[in-house]
């Protein structure tokens, strides 16, 4: 979406044009959902957060600034909602940790993307992404997957451009290490089978 189209859409939204909302929804629904799904690793949570993101968007629709950038605005809300969700889940987990420790669980739970990954490489990337800490994962998702500019991604995460650059660098290294570890693990596994 070019900047002129975006500005025209914002202007129409400020006037309460429902058709403009349809255009924004069409342009960003899948992108924001993909971001939330990879961040939360749960389809039901991503669906809930996506709905809340859109509700907040229309709530502020008429009060948007004329120069609003829709992508960063939506990703910021989605990301903040996920942070709130994580905090509430952390509280729940701390309250039920004793009980849950009694329950037998697997060490790694597959994300929806891992389950449907078409290729082996895709599966490995999804798994490596899923294993990254949230802070690193979100910057990789914003810059690498969603295609946001560094400055926009920094705004979304509430970071300075320099802090984002550093976090991105560390996340990329962590992702590379995870991919290498996965590949090495597979090779050593194959060697064990063949020897």
């Amino acid at each position: 979406m070019d900047r002129d189209t975006e500005l025209a859409l914002v202007e129409r939204l400020r006037e309460g044009d429902a058709a403009a909302f349809d255009d924004v929804h069409l342009a960003f629904n899948s992108r924001v959902f993909t971001f939330l799904l990879r961040l939360s690793r749960r389809r039901d949570v991503a669906e809930d957060l996506l709905e809340e993101t859109w509700l907040r968007f229309v709530k502020h629709g008429r009060r948007l600034r004329a120069d609003t950038r829709l992508g960063p605005w939506l990703f910021t809300v989605a990301r903040n909602l996920h942070v709130s969700y994580q905090r509430s889940r952390a509280l729940e987990n701390s309250a039920t940790a004793g009980l849950m420790a009694l329950w037998p669980t697997g060490s790694h739970r597959s994300s929806p993307f891992e389950e449907t990954a078409a290729s082996e490489l895709e599966r490995r990337i999804e798994q490596a992404l899923a294993e990254l800490p949230t802070a690193g994962r979100e910057v990789l998702l914003l810059v690498g997957v969603a295609g946001l500019a560094h400055s926009d991604a920094a705004d979304v995460c509430g970071l300075t451009p320099e802090a984002l650059r550093q976090r991105l660098h560390r996340a990329r290294q962590a992702l590379s290490r995870a991919l290498e570890r996965d590949a090495t693990g597979e090779i050593s596994g194959m060697e064990r089978v063949t020897s």
Partner: protein
């Protein structure tokens, strides 16, 4: 970020939310957006001659009443 890493991430598939729920959300948001009336700039109507006459008259009478009430109160309680 290195280009191969960007390519790897860019080529990851995107996900699609549940179509039925997405449609429900879209309709709900659409309704909400158009439900709120646009802020209309109101132009004040010119006042009629009767209103123009009555408003200052009521103000003058009100002030006279209050002044007289104060005078009466001082007369009754202000001095021994």
């Amino acid at each position: 970020m290195s280009e191969p890493m960007i390519d790897l991430l860019r080529n990851l598939p995107s996900a699609t939310p549940d179509p039925a729920r997405a449609e429900r959300t879209r309709v709900r948001c659409r309704t909400r957006l158009s439900a709120v009336a646009p802020p209309v700039a109101t132009v004040p109507k010119p006042l009629g001659w009767k209103t123009q006459l009555w408003q200052p008259l009521i103000a003058v009478l009100g002030c006279a009443y209050v002044a007289e009430a104060v005078v009466q109160a001082l007369r009754s309680y202000g001095r021994p």
